[in-house]
Amino acid sequence: MKNTQLRLLPEGLYIAIGVFALALPFLLDLYLVHLTTGVLVYVILSIGLSVLTKTGQVSIGQAAFFGAGAYTAAIISKFIYQSVLLEFVGALVVTVILAIFLGYVTLRMKGIFFSIATLAFTESLLVLAINERKIIGGATGIIVKPLFGNNMVMIYYFALALTLISLLTSYIANKSKLGYASLVIKNDERLANSIGINPTKYKIAAFVISAALSGLAGAFYVHYVTFIVPNDVFNLSISVSILAMTIFGGAYSFIGPVIGTIVLKLVEELLRQKITYGHQIGYGIILVITILFIPNGLVSLWKSRRISSTRQANKTGGGTL
């Protein structure tokens, strides 16, 4: 099973994509390189979310960790010391602590409390950020310096490196005991318990990894846009689009979230020139249609053709229709 997930695309295609990603700044003009960098932020967020969805849990509040990472980086750079490394470490530490705390309280319970709590978490951080005027400037926010003296090509490569780190994290997590435990927990929590897997422990571990990757994305994002205001990061619409991208691509696969994000971001950018308002409704519609018709996402279409086994699809899959 693990192998089929990774061998989903032939190795040659992986290499081709890698080469294209590296050569991209030489092929496209600077504006498009800048846009692609923005897409990579969402790719990292989706990869992070997919580590969690593999356990059968879903967070509606990834924006909370995205924002927490962004604000941590901004606060460190403004008040403590201007060091990118320190900012990223700080963002990781803060998001990990938040996730351990929230996960410990809500993931012990069976069922939907977790999703509800993550939803409420985003809203409360938003309120907190808007009302805290002394340190983080309330609704006016904080201004941050761009990375690498605003050299867009360097920034792109930096984002690409972060994306690679996220992919590696997801790969290692999936190959480790967490990956196997997730598969069991997602399909049958009682079975997991009976074969000595502690579901709560692994669910928290997956949640922490997913939060840390979101924090990483946030710390980068704040330098990418060079300023931060509460509504820009602690925004439900960010959580919604990440959810739609991850589910659409394939929330239970390795490469699905990446494909889903790139495809939907591309469509969003193309449509943005025609429709300026209400693209969130599109993400809602994609979420609903994907769950109803291809609950395992785009990659499951590919997979079922390759393995041509409905039993496989049912086993890995969430949805029974």
Binding site: I60, A117, I281, V288
Partner: protein, 288 residues
């Protein structure tokens, strides 16, 4: 002291609105084991139904309450048949995602159709004074309507054949099938009933609060906090938990600087504190 009494009254009256919102979610979860993230948006649609009936047709708000319940009943049965019915057997992650997706669609549809501005009915109502405290007549009447409907539903669930069948279906679906109970039909009824409640709640919201595309999300969050307090499947406790929620908000609004702005944070704090210390709800009944 006057402030305190007034805060108590305001809190109780607001809690009455939360009660009707929460009851709909609890009903669907209690019987169908489905957490409906779109329920808040159904309430929002109910609020707009009442608002437009009043503004365009000049309809009496009390009559539009009934109409709004009917409109939501019909609308939600279409949503149920078209979308939700297909994922009843699916893992809970798919149920969360589908109902959440529906809520995103409805909220953004409302934004596109009616803009982000809040609208209110601004009824001229008699103010009733009891000693030093006071409240609008409408708010009191609507509170009583909400409470009466809630008690009626709880009695329906506890005392009648329909209610007993519903609880049989919720306890063991397969056994209920074997006994010859038409389970899909009872699911349909339960969902329809919850939807009518959403319409009614929306009417209350439109009259005593305001209508806005975001009001559903705000109310949904409070309802989740109330459900966490009450413990899932505890219908009686929901009444108390709703009043507590209304009271907490009312006190924070008066005694904390910039109080009203913190309302969303309060819901989260309640969820977190209750889950941390009394995971099965305040009453502490065993719930899975």
């Amino acid at each position: 002291m006057d402030n305190l009494l007034q805060a108590v009254l305001n809190g109780v009256l607001t809690g009455g609105v939360y009660l009707v919102v929460t009851l709909g979610i609890a009903l669907v979860f209690g019987i169908m084991r489905l957490m409906n993230f779109a329920h808040g948006e159904f309430v929002m649609l109910g609020a707009y139904t009442t608002f437009w009936c009043f503004t365009l047709l000049g309809m009496n708000p009390y009559i539009s309450l009934i109409l709004s319940a009917l409109v939501l009943f019909v609308f939600d049965l279409i949503v149920y048949k078209g979308l939700i019915e297909h994922i009843l057997d699916a893992p809970s992650i798919n149920q969360v995602l589908l109902t959440f997706g529906i809520s995103v669609i409805l909220q953004n549809l409302a934004l596109i159709l009616w803009s982000a501005n809040s609208v209110a009915l601004n009824l001229k109502t008699k103010v009733i004074k009891i000693g030093v405290i006071q409240a609008g007549q409408d708010r009191i009447i609507l509170f009583l309507i909400g409470l009466a409907v809630t008690i009626l539903i709880i009695l329906l669930l506890k005392k009648t054949y329909v209610g007993k069948t519903m609880s049989a279906v919720s306890q063991n679906r397969k056994a209920a099938y074997l006994l010859g109970i038409n389970v899909p039909f009872f699911y349909l009824i339960s969902f329809g009933l919850a939807s009518a409640l959403a319409g009614l709640a929306g009417g209350l919201v439109a009259i005593v609060m305001y209508s806005s595309p975001y009001v559903g999300g705000k109310l949904g969050l409070r309802a989740f906090a109330i459900l966490t307090m009450a413990g899932l499947g505890n219908f009686n406790t929901i009444i108390v938990a709703s009043l507590i929620m209304g009271l907490i908000e009312s006190f924070v609004g008066i005694y904390v600087p910039q109080g009203p702005g913190w309302a969303e944070g309060i819901s989260f704090l309640i969820i977190l504190v209750v889950l941390a210390f009394r995971p099965a709800g305040l009453k502490g009944a065993r719930a899975e």
